[in-house]
């Protein structure tokens, strides 16, 4: 039993601060009882209750500071006193800025807000989007689970008021060079984009940057904009705005194959403007695009090439090859390493449109591709967790993400899947996309490396080699840094291609080369 006390005359501290410190000191092991306070009558009474009141403490005044404690030994008392001083001089951590509870009160804090970014549950998202439009704010609606009727209603209202209504299900936009939701950091330049696909916009903008060009704006419309019912409202409003934008010289449109009528409507609006345009309907018919005087892209990469070339005023060519030196050597080398049983490509994708594009390129080159989002109904996998022959999986599709974070953020599902593909003796090639930018995982490559390694250990056991091919959709300006991510992957023996299209074509080339040699 050791009662130790300390008095500091004429030393003021706030009573609340001292109460907090008392509580913290009490937690130290070996401290039985403690009181830290100013010499008020109340505190003396409390000290008395705890048998901590000494004759000296009895004499102090409310202007004097004291500590009185009962500990198992003197060392603990010393420690406690030192801790008190530490706490007295400690600075608190930063607090949050104020977060208003409603849109209306948010307007009070930022009356000149011009854009509302909504990622609320679908049930409420439409209501908030409508409220925003009624208050004359542009909207980016990231939420899905908004009904088609709600979408049409919102877009009509937005059109009426001349506002942007990006979404629902709009995951990417770059407005005034600000990355909104999932988007990359792209150089400024003369190419303006309107896209109904998030990763489609990401891949095209990233390729434009890699080619040394840049963008003015990238407007997202959400995935359903070009359906018959919606009629392409936002795509048309978006491209009109780009036609009127002095900083935009070339316009790019990206979408899944639209409804035929809607396609014509959109293309004729494009035609009315004077600016050159490049259009990519992923896997769609290039003829109708040419008919209206626009340039068809043959892949996301090719679209970027053509846009950049147009902007630079140099001749436009189809780009369906490789920019990698010594590609033939790579193809030959990989083909040799594969065993008899290894025949198939397994694509593990986080970006839906990248997966789409891969399937389109591959089915042209090597035949049927199976998937959870197949090009034809016959291609649907009976068990999406088990690949069959050539399989390309969109891990970001609803079936995989119910109740789980998206694979662009949380790599868990792909980490597990790569191991099961490695165990499958028929797997020859694993294709992966790594999407960088704001919104994505802080280190997509780093997250997969241990599993790529593990996959290699699994295959090494029976003397197999799996060819790992990937592309990284990003720029060196992105938080994750394209260069660093590519380096990490290359170090692990992954073949890193400059674009999704090239990664896919390489995989096809290896398969074709194997067919020849068997």
């Amino acid at each position: 039993m050791a009662l130790k006390y300390l008095i500091r005359e004429n030393t003021y501290y706030d009573s609340v601060t001292l109460m907090i410190i008392s509580r913290e000191v009490k937690k130290i092991e070996g401290v039985k009882e403690v009181i830290v306070g100013m010499g008020t009558e109340l505190n003396k009474e409390l000290a008395g209750n705890l048998n901590l009141l000494t004759p000296e403490l009895q004499k102090i005044t409310p202007n004097d500071f004291f500590i009185s404690l009962d500990s198992i030994d003197d060392n603990i008392a010393k420690k406690a006193f030192a801790f008190v001083d530490e706490l007295l001089s400690k600075k608190k951590a930063e607090s949050e800025d104020y977060q208003p509870s409603t849109f209306e009160s948010a307007l009070k804090y930022m009356p000149d807000a011009n854009l509302v970014l909504i990622s609320l549950p679908g049930k409420y998202a439409a209501r908030e989007a409508k409220n925003s439009l009624l208050n004359n704010k542009h909207v980016m609606l990231f939420s899905d689970n908004v009904t088609l009727e709600e979408e049409i209603d919102l877009k009509k209202l937005a059109k009426q008021r001349g506002l942007l209504m990006m979404g629902p299900d709009c995951g990417t936009a770059i407005i005034n060079h600000v990355a909104l939701a999932f988007a990359n950091v792209i150089r400024k330049g003369p190419i303006g984009i309107v896209g109904a696909s998030g990763t489609g916009i990401q891949e095209v903008t990233v390729m434009i940057d890699k080619l040394g060009s840049g963008i003015s704006q990238a407007i997202g419309t959400g995935g359903r904009d070009l359906k018959a019912e919606v009629g392409g409202i936002m795509m048309i409003e978006g491209l009109k705005a780009l036609q009127n934008d002095p900083l935009t010289e070339v316009i790019v449109l990206i979408s899944k194959p639209p409804d035929k009528e809607v396609a014509r409507k959109v293309l004729s609006v494009l035609k009315e403007g004077k600016k050159p345009s490049v259009v990519y309907f992923v896997g769609g018919d290039p003829e109708v695009i040419r008919e209206y005087g626009s340039i068809p892209g043959l892949s996301l990469e090719d679209t970027a090439h053509k846009a950049a070339a147009t902007a630079k005023g140099i001749p436009i060519e189809d780009f369906t090859g490789f920019t990698v030196i010594g590609i033939d050597k790579i193809i030959k080398g990989e083909t040799k390493k594969l065993k008899e049983t290894q025949r198939y490509i397994r694509g593990l994708y986080t970006g839906g449109t990248l997966c789409d594009e891969a399937m389109i390129i591959l089915s042209d080159l090597i035949g049927d591709i199976y998937s959870n989002i197949p090009l034809k109904p016959e291609g649907k996998l009976s068990d999406i967790n088990k690949s069959y022959r050539h399989s390309l999986i969109d891990l970001g599709d609803d079936e995989f993400t119910r109740g789980k974070p998206h694979p662009m953020i949380d790599p868990y599902v792909r980490q597990e899947r790569i191991l099961s593909e490695a165990k499958d003796k028929e797997t020859a090639i694993i294709l992966m996309d790594f999407v960088l930018g704001f919104g994505s995982n802080p280190d997509p490559a780093g997250e997969m490396i241990p599993y790529i390694r593990k996959a290699g250990e699994i295959t090494a056991k029976d003397g197999r080699h799996i060819c790992m091919i990937s592309s990284v959709c990003g720029t060196e300006k992105d938080p994750q840094n394209l260069i660093e991510q590519e380096k990490k992957l290359k170090k692990e023996g992954v073949i890193v291609m400059p674009s999704n299209a090239q990664a896919v074509r390489l995989a096809a080339a290896i398969v074709l080369s194997r067919r020849k040699s068997t």
Partner: protein, 56 residues
Amino acid sequence: MTKINELFQEELKIINMGLQSFNENLKKQNVKTVQVDWEPPAGGNKKMLSWLDKLK
């Protein structure tokens, strides 16, 4: 000039309703934002919502 073209000339000032991470990413890009601390109206209580609506 349409409102969209006007937006292209303005500094973006964003109200973020939903994922905090979106707000943080905007802050990293030095964009002025307000994060809404959103809750479903009346906590989703249908009875309360119907009474509130009667008073509107």
